[in-house]
């Protein structure tokens, strides 16, 4: 008798099938009846920490002009095939403007996608499995939206309606707390074509992806708190890293932070204070009107977890000021 497949084996198999199912979809017009499934998170778990100082096997462009964005945003590729970047891939019609640093399972991106359908957003994550999940998830969401659009354009066909219950079964095991409400039922503006995820170590390679003043928003949601004092150098927010965020953010651009660790919140406030003078804190009143803050509080996986555990959420948002006059 053969023993049941090991956890790892099942995981690998599941992931392989999930990727294949999605990549096969666009060609098979006959398969409209079968609604694309979202990946299950339990097959993509990975320990919550990664050492930002070690040499991971990362792929990153030599310069921002060497980045192949076209494969990430096929819907935004410049129709002029002559427009290519330094490695010969097609250029986009617009630049990436929003970055989620440490995007995790991608709750923020998915939440923002419909809110800002014409803005290109990228999530950056250092953990391989988590990124695999998110990539599969985005592909699945795009495919679902595609199907939805098609079924709407041919209202005679009713094949997709009975499919709804199937998706309910597919939602992750934590389903009660993490609903995927809009996933298969609603049409989202932009159809999730404007979001993508990249594996990277932003502490090291941020300037390889983005030009000076390219970004309008940076999100840092529930960063690894690195509780021990001797690990503080590994925190994603520090005086020295803030300089890099300021480089990539355009004047007037915003940097959003949220954490459930009060000490870290004060750390953030301290490190964005006076000395750099490149950022100013955005007052609370303004934040209430900002939909992005709402998404950050409620839509991120970590945000939901904190709500579930009745923890506190500390939000701090900063605006990039103009560069100071030369001293």
């Amino acid at each position: 008798m053969t023993p049941p497949p090991s956890k790892r084996q099942r995981r690998d198999e599941y992931r392989k099938n999930a990727t294949e199912a999605i990549s096969a979809k666009p060609d098979e017009t006959a398969a409209v009846a079968q609604v694309v499934k979202l990946p299950k998170k339990k097959f993509y778990r990975q320990r919550a920490h990664a050492n930002p100082f070690s040499d991971h096997q990362l792929n990153y462009p030599v310069t921002p002009a060497h980045m192949d964005w076209a494969s990430h945003f096929p819907a935004f590729v410049n129709p002029d095939a002559a427009q290519t970047n330094l490695i010969g891939t097609r250029k986009l019609l617009k630049d990436v403007e929003i970055v989620d640093i440490g995007c995790g399972f991608g709750g923020l991106l998915v939440g923002l996608a419909g809110l800002l359908p014409e803005t290109l957003m990228v999530g950056m994550e250092i953990r391989v499995s988590v990124l695999d999940y998110l990539t599969t998830r985005i592909q699945a969401l795009r495919a679902q939206q595609h199907q939805k659009l098609q079924s709407q354009s041919q209202p005679a066909s009713t094949t997709s309606t009975p499919a709804a219950p199937t998706t309910d079964v597919d939602t992750p095991s934590e389903a009660p707390a993490i609903p995927e409400p809009t996933a298969a039922t609603d049409l989202i503006p932009g159809g999730y074509q404007n979001i993508t995820a990249i594996r990277s170590n932003t502490m090291k390679f941020f300037p390889n992806f983005f030009n000076k003043h390219q970004l309008s928003k940076i999100f840092i949601c529930f960063p690894d708190p690195h509780f021990k004092a001797r690990k503080h150098k590994a925190r994603i927010i520090s005086e020295t890293l803030n300089a890099e965020y300021a480089y990539a953010l355009r004047p007037g651009g915003m940097l959003y932070t949220i954490t459930d660790v009060e000490e870290y919140h004060h750390w953030i406030l301290r490190h964005f204070r006076d000395e750099t003078a490149l950022f100013e804190r955005v007052p609370e009143e303004e934040l209430e009107k900002d939909d992005c803050v709402q998404v950050m509080r409620e839509a991120t996986e970590e945000g939901k977890k904190v709500t579930r555990n009745k923890g506190n959420k500390y939000v701090a948002v900063f605006r990039r000021k103009q560069d100071p006059e030369w001293a």
């Binding site: 990975q46 930002p52 100082f53 040499d55 991971h56 096997q57 030599v62 310069t63 391989v128 499995s129 502490m203 090291k204 390679f205 300037p207 390889n208 000076k212 708190p225 509780f227 004092a229 001797r230 503080h232 150098k233 520090s238 005086e239 020295t240 890293l241 803030n242 300089a243 890099e244 300021a246 480089y247 459930d260 660790v261 009060e262 000490e263 870290y264 000395e275 750099t276 490149l278 904190v306 555990n309 009745k310 923890g311 506190n312 560069d323 100071p324 030369w326 001293a327």
Partner: protein
């Protein structure tokens, strides 16, 4: 028994001074000074025997609390080595085995040296007679990997293994230093985690224990950081490999200048930041290397250009203020793994020369840098051993090169069977008069005197383990290369 080897000069610097010009160098654990005119050895530091003149080291702080690895295997006393004390003390071997960084102020009055194992930045005043008087010693937390002095001779910029760049005043003020803000590693009186942020059983238990401990007693130990004035200017999340401090005129017409800090790291980045007070403003990046960067060279006659090199088998030439790559210059014919050990620039009359030495190579490559920034290859100089250091005496159209007399030429590991005869630690070349760049041996009396005086001896009987340690102290760039390993 075979004759003993001589420690080669790891650093060599020509120091121009109003009275008599000097040569200073570091070899083994010592500093040496020579007359640039005659080659006569003037002084060494630390001094071997008790001689009370000079070298009045003032210990500014107690011995560092952290245990250090002393690669020579000796548990030396950790304090400095004030001369004129008991001979017993001054004969104890120093706490370091080599001095990897040595630089001098533009006035020639001060010399800054880094002693390796104790991570100590030492500032010396060079006396008229060439003796070293140590003014200060400042022990850094992390191993410094690049040290330069700003062009106004007032500030030391120190980049370290953790990627941070600090500024330190060259001459510390008289007032005792008071930390003005909480250092980064400030001790927390309370754990930052709460039962709202950690949830698993193990973590909760750990938290409980931490809370009990912190309520029992405030930690007595106060690692308050460095006990001298220092400012964190900027940081890379990578090992910092080189720094340059450059001033450029604001525009062609004005005489006003802007200062910049250029920093290079192990992760292929060259960052261009504003000068001291605004170093947090990043002006741009020079990206184009695909391996670590080890050397930045901004020629003093053409500060708008930057030549950079490292683990790639090419050099890159930049118009750095715009982050614009001008040229990629191949260093070797075929695709071999090389590392750039040094890049030096010198101007001899109309000739603008850039010298490049690869790690563990006895060939000194020469280029001319044209006014438009193109780098043209010129005939190389062949030396008797691996190139370690280089300094130019521009008024004499001369370069002095320190060579490795211990290892076989073009090897970083193999020791020679016997030391070369005559002993050669330094060689000199002069530009032949003419239009093209050609070299002839020069300043023979100076080099002969230095070579015959020698430095400290390395016994030919040195065991393999010590040999390897000595090799690694000179040829350590290989550690910067990334290894393809496991991941997840």
């Amino acid at each position: 028994m075979a004759a003993n080897f001589q420690h080669p000069f790891q650093c060599l610097q020509f120091v121009e001074r109003p009275s008599a010009n000097l040569l200073v160098g570091s070899a083994g654990s010592k500093l040496y000074s020579y007359s640039a005119e005659t080659g006569q050895q003037l002084a060494t530091w630390p001094q071997a025997a008790a001689s009370s003149d000079g070298a009045e080291a003032q210990s500014e702080q107690g011995p560092p609390e952290k245990k250090r690895r002393v690669s020579s295997g000796s548990r030396a006393n950790e304090a400095s080595f004030p001369a004129g004390q008991t001979s017993e003390k001054s004969q104890a071997p120093p706490a370091w085995s080599n001095i990897p960084i040595l630089t001098s102020t533009s006035s020639g009055e001060y010399v800054v040296a880094l002693t390796a194992e104790d991570k100590c930045i030492r500032v010396f005043q060079l006396q008229e007679d060439g003796t070293f008087v140590q003014l200060s010693e400042r022990v850094m937390h992390k191993r410094p990997s690049a040290i330069i002095i700003t062009s106004d001779d007032s500030t030391i910029l120190c980049g370290d293994k953790f990627g941070d760049v600090y500024s330190l005043p060259l001459i510390p003020g008289d007032e005792p230093y008071v930390a003005t803000r909480v250092p980064r590693g400030a001790k927390l009186s309370q754990p930052a985690a709460t039962n709202l942020t950690v949830h698993t059983k193990g973590n909760l238990r750990a938290l409980e224990q931490q809370q009990r401990l912190s309520s029992e007693a405030k930690a007595a130990e106060d690692k308050s950081g460095l006990a001298f004035e220092h400012n964190l200017l900027l940081g890379h999340v990578s090992l910092l490999t080189d720094i340059a401090y450059v001033s450029l005129p604001v525009d062609a017409s004005s005489s006003k200048k802007r200062s910049y800090i250029l920093t290079a790291d192990r992760d292929e980045h060259i960052r261009v930041s504003r000068g001291l007070s605004q170093a947090h403003v990043i002006e741009n990046y020079c990206l184009g290397h695909t391996s670590f960067i080890s050397q930045l060279c901004v020629p003093h006659w053409a500060p708008e250009y930057l030549v950079s090199g490292g683990g790639d088998n090419y050099l890159l030439v930049w118009k750095w203020a715009e982050g614009r790559l001008l040229q990629k210059v191949p260093l070797v014919d075929q695709a071999t793994e090389v590392a750039v050990h040094g890049i030096w620039a010198a101007s001899f009359g109309d000739l603008r020369v850039v010298f490049v030495a690869l790690l563990g190579s006895s060939c000194l490559q020469c280029f001319t840098l044209e006014a438009d920034g193109t780098l043209n290859s010129q005939p190389h100089i062949q030396l008797s051993g691996n190139v370690l250091g280089l300094t130019s005496i521009e008024k004499d159209n001369t370069v002095l090169v320190s060579v490795d007399s211990i290892r076989e030429p073009d090897s970083t590991q193999e020791w020679r069977v016997s030391p070369p005869s005559p002993s050669t630690v330094i060689e000199a070349f002069r530009v032949k008069s003419g239009t093209s760049l050609e070299w002839e041996p020069a300043a023979t009396s100076v080099t002969e005197t230095i070579n015959s005086t020698g430095t400290s001896e390395v016994p030919a009987t040195t065991a393999d383990k010590q040999r390897k340690e000595l090799n690694d102290s000179l040829y350590n760039l290989g550690h910067l290369r990334k290894r393809k390993g496991e991941d997840e």
